[in-house]
Amino acid sequence: MTARLFLLFCLLSAVLGPLHAREAAPNAEDVVVEKRMVAISEELRCLVCQNESLAGSQADLAKDLRREIREQIQSGRSDQEILDFMVDRYGDFVRYRPPLKGATLLLWFGPFLLLAAGLAGLLMFLRRRARRVAEATLSAEEQKKAEELLKLGEGGNGP
């Protein structure tokens, strides 16, 4: 019984499957527009859910903005013009790669500053240690004691 039902199901889906698979068949031009739209919107932050890109967000505003980008592509605007359109309205914050300018200098070069500070700290530490090791010479008495201890180690049970 179950096997027969299953067979029926398989047959039905074989017939019906292709029917609704045909639903979204974009034409060639749409594919180009859509690709550009996705490329642009991946560069942009969705302001409603800030850790999602405009391309990935399901927020209402993101849908509207994707529509806006699509329409602007269709009306022949360049990628740069569309990015400028967004920045004019929402500020540099919408771009995942904000432009290099006065206000964003620290953002771009801050990590390198930290790296340089870390390297400088490490260098200072190493130099100071090297000096300390060089200074640490043994007195004659200490030298003798050390040799005795070493001898003791050789003659004993060993390590």
Partner: protein, 174 residues
């Protein structure tokens, strides 16, 4: 003793940065529109769809543009404050009804009171995009020359109204 001074110093600086960072509101993105002319548009009015409204109609006046919607929860929070402000007759408030079906918007105003001189219907949210709206409610202070002088993101609170918005409006009305 001296050995611990440097790590302690770094730690204190780090804590200070974190304390400042945690007290900032990440939802408040500074608007690039401050100091720029309010974007032009012409849209139908909510109550009389056959009549339109354009910001240039208000040239020479200081006014508030409040973006609201019946589906917006924090709009209810700020609404009594706007109703109260409207009664004080200090500044005209215009509403931008954002992405809202007309019937819902009208019912909402009936239910909670209508502080607006008039509301404009931005059903598709295109004017919202021009104004950089990303979190309703938002409120813009627009001066006599039609320049945006201040933008409140999120609900207007009594505190913001008394300490920031009203002093600015008095200054602009001079």
């Amino acid at each position: 003793m001296n050995k611990f001074l440097l790590p302690l110093g770094i730690f204190i600086v780090l804590v200070a940065f974190l304390a400042i960072g945690l007290n900032l509101n990440p939802r408040e993105v500074p608007s690039p529109l401050i100091g720029k002319p309010a974007p032009a548009f012409t849209l139908p009015q909510l109550h009389q769809p056959e009549a339109t409204f354009a910001p240039k109609d208000l040239q020479g006046r200081v006014w508030l543009l409040n973006v609201w919607a019946s589906w917006c929860v924090s709009c209810r929070q700020e609404h009594p404050i706007l109703v109260d402000l409207a009664k004080r007759n200090i500044v005209p408030i215009y509403g931008l009804n954002y992405k809202d079906p007309r019937e819902d918007a009208l019912r909402w105003l009936k239910q909670f009171g209508d502080p607006y001189v008039l509301s404009i219907a931005d059903v598709e949210g295109r004017v919202g995009i021009d104004y950089g709206v990303y979190g309703v409610p938002e409120t813009y202070v627009i001066d006599k020359a039609g320049v945006i002088r201040f933008k409140q993101i999120g609900p207007v609170t009594q505190d913001v109204l008394e300490k920031t918005i009203l002093p600015l409006i008095r200054e602009l009305q001079k």
